[in-house]
């Protein structure tokens, strides 16, 4: 059975302020002279290796897991699941 690499990206909802992103933007990026950058949001990336018969099934497992175990907090987070191919043995 192949092993799929599945990434889950967790971000604050647009309404919830992200002070870490704001600080990086203000004190690093703008000070560093990158004036064309308009904003930064910081998130969290979890990379899973999931054994399954297909990419669709691997994604399904990841989505179910994120909801069952509250990997993200629906009150304040959005999340995105992406398949990044299979692991090379």
């Amino acid at each position: 059975m192949p092993t799929y690499i599945v990434e889950v990206l967790i971000e604050n909802k647009p309404l919830a302020r992200d002070p870490e992103g704001e600080t990086i933007y203000r004190d690093l990026i703008l000070r560093g002279g990158y004036d064309s950058v308009r904003s930064v949001r910081v998130g969290k990336l979890l990379r899973f290796e999931i054994e399954s018969n297909s990419a669709e099934e691997a994604e399904k497992i990841a989505v179910k897991m994120c909801n069952d175990l509250r990997i993200y907090n629906p009150v304040v987070h959005t999340y995105r699941v992406e398949i990044r191919g299979t692991r090379n043995e």
């Binding site: 604050n12 309404l15 919830a16 302020r17 002070p19 870490e20 600080t23 175990l69 509250r70 990997i71 907090n73 009150v75 304040v76």
Partner: protein, 251 residues
């Protein structure tokens, strides 16, 4: 389990109220909480390792502060999925008092026993200082002996304490009288300068609809003896005394 010898249970005169303080890996102020309950209030309080915690035999349960599981993923997220929290949920359903202090509040929020979320402080810094909070309601098991509007001096110590909830849910909290404490200035006014962490509406503590589950970021167990307070106050004790009064009347 380590308990300082001076606290050996046999040496204490304790009443018949039994309160569990759950210890997760990374809990702190758990012994302070047991100490206050036993030594200051005479309650039969016990420290219980989370794997050993069952909902029978306890009148109330307290989830202490700290950094359970190293705050990995999010503060409280891993402890919230532990079997111990299933038992806490049962006690909450039975109407027994459930108190979450600091990390305990984060665990109750992540368990969905309380609404909202607790995010990184707006300053991105760990804040450890005494603040003033205002008692917004006395219909809860933990504020029934405190007059509405009473100002309490109490310390905070956290980095993920910024209470967040969307506007619609905030209105519901207000309509249902679920906001229990707000950060205020010395005059009791809700102002931005008194908000240490950027919490929505200066919220420091909320309860469930029924009022038997309370979570708050400040540490009442660090403010229950006059000698520990720079103001000579013992306001934290009022919260525990309310809980005892509630247990005596209703359980």
């Amino acid at each position: 389990m380590f308990i300082p010898t001076a606290w050996k249970l046999g040496e204490l005169e304790m009443n018949d109220i039994r309160v569990a303080v759950i210890r997760f890996p990374g809990s702190n102020c758990d012994l302070d909480t047991v100490y206050v309950l036993q030594r200051v209030l005479g309650v039969d309080a016990r420290l219980v390792w989370h794997r050993d915690f069952k909902d029978d035999a306890w009148d109330a349960v307290i989830i202490p502060g700290g950094f359970s599981y190293g705050d990995y993923l999010r503060a409280g997220a891993i402890a919230a999925r532990s079997p111990a929290m299933k038992h806490v949920r049962e006690m909450a359903k039975e109407g027994k008092p459930v108190l979450g202090i600091c990390n305990g509040f984060q665990i109750l929020v992540e368990s969905e026993l309380l609404p909202g979320a607790l995010l990184m402080n707006s300053t991105l810094k760990f804040i450890c200082k005494w603040v003033t909070i205002r008692t917004e309601t006395n219909r809860t098991a933990f504020t029934r002996s405190i007059p509405r509007g009473k100002l309490l001096k109490i310390p905070i110590a956290h980095i993920q304490g910024r209470y967040y909830i969307d506007e619609k849910s905030l209105r519901e909290l207000e309509d249902n009288d679920q906001i229990v404490f707000r950060y205020v200035n010395d005059n009791g006014e809700v102002v931005e300068e008194a908000n240490p962490n950027g919490s929505v509406s200066n919220i420091a503590g909320v309860c469930n609809l029924e009022g038997n589950v309370l979570g708050l970021m400040p540490h009442p167990e660090r403010a229950s003896e006059r000698i520990l307070s720079p103001f000579g106050t013992d306001h934290g004790k009022l919260i525990f005394e309310s809980m005892i009064d509630y247990i005596r009347r209703y359980l």
